[in-house]
């Protein structure tokens, strides 16, 4: 039975620095294995599409530029991504990784949520194809029944 | 073995009422039972104080259509009453047809079953006779009647509307 058991802590808190982090002004270093934005390395990809198949949120599309020469472009939607790293786990050729530096992804425009990864000329080709009317983008992940 | 002893004692409680008993896993016993005998079986489990009701799972077995377009089997619903005692689990399985989905409520024996029964009534279209509360538990108040979202035939409210119009 006692009254005011917290008193010691109250005094301590009054004279110590607040623990609140002053976030946008002072940023803490992210931990080493933070699961941030997905990064894709087109050099190693063989186009097995496992990542597309098992992505729980349909965040990944692998667009085929030239299947023989192993030319792929990854279209990645950070807004759909749930950052579970299942794709990283699945990829046997280590072309996928999750960045621990890019994790502040709030944006006021939708454009930043449409990321193309790949060799520059391949991306250019894909975008050009997409711009051409009447031609659909190559098939990517099966659309989910809505 | 402790599990076997528990399962044996549980088995002896419901043996006389069961249609068939199988043991799919070491610590599990599946007891198929008719809807008529269910309450009796639950009663003997409760009075013997054998474990507690974990939950009631609903399963939908949609009607099978044979290749030559003749009705294979009518649609059925299955309710699984899971009882657990330590690590032993006894499941009472009750199959009922779509046309007459009635099961006697067990709420007077186990009051907490009310929530599970309400859930099944809404989501599968079971009809629990004498259940104390038939109000909606999880679905919105404006949800249409006789639309049971966890049945396999349900693919979305929009589709449901379309089907209705087609029937008309």
């Amino acid at each position: 039975m006692a009254i005011g058991v917290l008193f010691g802590d109250l005094l301590k808190s009054l004279f110590s620095k607040p623990v609140t982090e002053n976030y946008p002004f002072v940023k803490r270093k992210a931990p080493e294995n933070l699961r941030g934005k997905l990064v894709y390395n087109p050099e190693k990809c063989i186009g097995c599409m496992l990542c597309v198949k098992d992505c729980p949120s349909n965040a990944i599309e692998v667009l085929i530029v030239d299947i023989k020469n192993k030319k792929f472009v990854m279209r990645y939607h950070p807004d759909r991504c749930v950052y579970c790293a299942q794709c990283v786990q699945l990829c046997r050729f280590n072309c996928l990784s999750m960045s621990n530096s890019q994790w502040e992804m709030a944006s006021t425009s939708k454009n930043t949520f449409d990321v193309y990864y790949g060799r520059e000329e391949d991306i250019a080709e894909i975008l050009e194809r997409a711009a051409r009317p009447g031609i659909d983008l190559p098939p990517y992940g099966k659309p989910r029944p809505t | 073995m402790e599990v076997n002893r528990l399962l044996e004692s549980g088995k002896s409680l419901v043996d006389r009422l069961s249609l068939s008993i199988i043991q799919p896993e070491e610590e599990r016993l599946d007891v198929e039972i008719s809807a008529f005998n269910l309450k009796e079986a639950v009663k003997s489990i409760v009075t013997a104080n054998w474990g507690y009701l974990i939950t009631i799972t609903g399963l939908d077995i949609p009607p099978k259509v044979e290749m030559d377009n003749q009705a294979g089997s009518p649609g059925e619903l299955e309710a699984l009453y899971h009882f657990a005692n330590e690590n032993a689990i006894i499941t009472l399985r009750v199959k009922i047809p779509y046309s007459n989905p009635q099961i006697e409520s067990i709420c007077d024996l186990i009051p907490s079953a009310s929530l599970y029964e309400r859930e099944l009534m809404e989501l599968f279209g079971f009809d629990f006779v004498n259940t104390p509360n038939r109000e909606k538990l999880v679905l919105p108040d404006t949800w249409p009647d006789e639309v049971y979202p966890l049945r396999k035939s349900f693919t979305g409210l929009a589709d449901q509307e379309k089907n209705k119009e087609e029937k008309k």
């Binding site: 005011g4 917290l6 008193f7 109250l10 808190s13 009054l14 607040p18 609140t20 | -």
Partner: protein, 312 residues
């Protein structure tokens, strides 16, 4: 200190009226900031209460269905008027009271109770269930703390032999600080003040986890802003009264700042030290403990006074 200004200025701008309201906002900020610091948080910036008030004043006032419209609109005004009028009779910031007469202490105490009455009425006026429960609690709490609080302020009055705040203050500043002479009275007065202002742990009438915002749940915009300003003014007046009576009076603004700040640190610590009392616990505490202690204190004063006369 005496101010030679036009009475209207004294009343409306300084030290009463406008200035007082701003000081009220400042006190609210200090209160919130200190509580935050006790809880190891950063707390709001200095303009937060002002920003809140401006925001509320600018917002649309929603008058709910089923209320007496006139009463609904009048109550916040009456509440803030009560608090501001009370301030007129209290020597604020070390300046002499604008008006004073024999017995003004009683008037001030009654004016301060207006706020709670108005909140109670406001709650009972609306149909919302939260406000009605809140109003019941607010009035219940008022009936419990009012008597001990009155008794606690009666102590210094009896010692000084006057009902005039000015005279009591003069007595308090010329003698031993009354916090030492009447420690029990001080504790009762301080805790009574917290009950009056519905500060935690006596915030059952507006316990957000039970009844949202209590009696004021249906208030929005201007009405809510007025209630809040009124409460802040009451906060300042209440603290000033306690300082005047128990901490040896206030001779100048600097003394005022130092003494009230000291008292604020204590009040905020008490706020963050306890779990909220249920309304029945509050009533029990006040009647069983508060009133008894205040009566004991009174008895001690009477005996002391009698003995003093006798020995002289």
């Amino acid at each position: 200190m005496n101010l030679s200004l036009h009475p209207l200025i004294l009343l409306l701008i300084f030290p009463g009226g406008l200035f007082l309201m701003n000081i009220g906002l400042l006190y609210e900020w200090i209160d919130r900031k200190l509580v935050a610091r006790y809880q190891n948080r950063v707390g709001p910036r200095w303009f937060q209460p002002l920003a809140d008030t401006i925001k509320l004043l600018a917002k649309e006032e929603i008058i709910p269905q089923g209320v007496h419209k006139g009463l609904f609109l009048a109550l916040p005004v009456i509440a803030i008027t009560g608090a501001l009028t009370a301030a007129v009779y209290v020597p604020l910031f070390g300046f002499r009271a604008v008006y004073s007469f024999e017995g003004d202490l009683i008037v001030v105490l009654y004016l301060l109770s207006m706020m709670t009455l108005c909140i109670g009425l406001a709650g009972a006026n609306t149909l919302s269930r939260f406000t009605i429960v809140g109003a019941t609690r607010a009035l219940t709490q008022m009936f419990s703390y009012e008597a001990p609080f009155l008794l606690a302020l009666l102590g210094p009055a009896m010692a000084a032999g006057s009902w005039n705040i000015g005279k009591i203050t003069a007595y308090a500043s010329n003698n031993l600080w009354l916090i030492l002479a009447q420690p029990i009275g001080f504790v009762v007065a301080l805790v009574g003040l917290m009950g009056k202002l519905e500060l935690p742990p006596f915030d059952a009438p507006e316990a957000e986890t039970e009844i949202v915002a209590g009696a004021l749940t249906e208030y929005s915009g201007r009405g809510l802003a007025l209630f809040r300003i009124g409460k802040n003014v009451e906060f300042v007046v209440g603290i000033t009264l306690v300082v005047l009576f128990y901490l040896g009076g206030i001779a100048n603004p600097i003394e005022f700042i130092l003494k009230t700040a000291g008292l604020l640190i204590v009040i905020t610590a008490l706020q963050s030290l306890f779990a909220r009392l249920r309304i029945d616990q509050t009533v029990g505490l006040w009647w069983r403990l508060g009133a008894l202690m205040a009566l004991l204190q009174l008895l001690a004063i009477i005996i002391g006074k009698y003995l003093g006369e006798f020995l002289r």
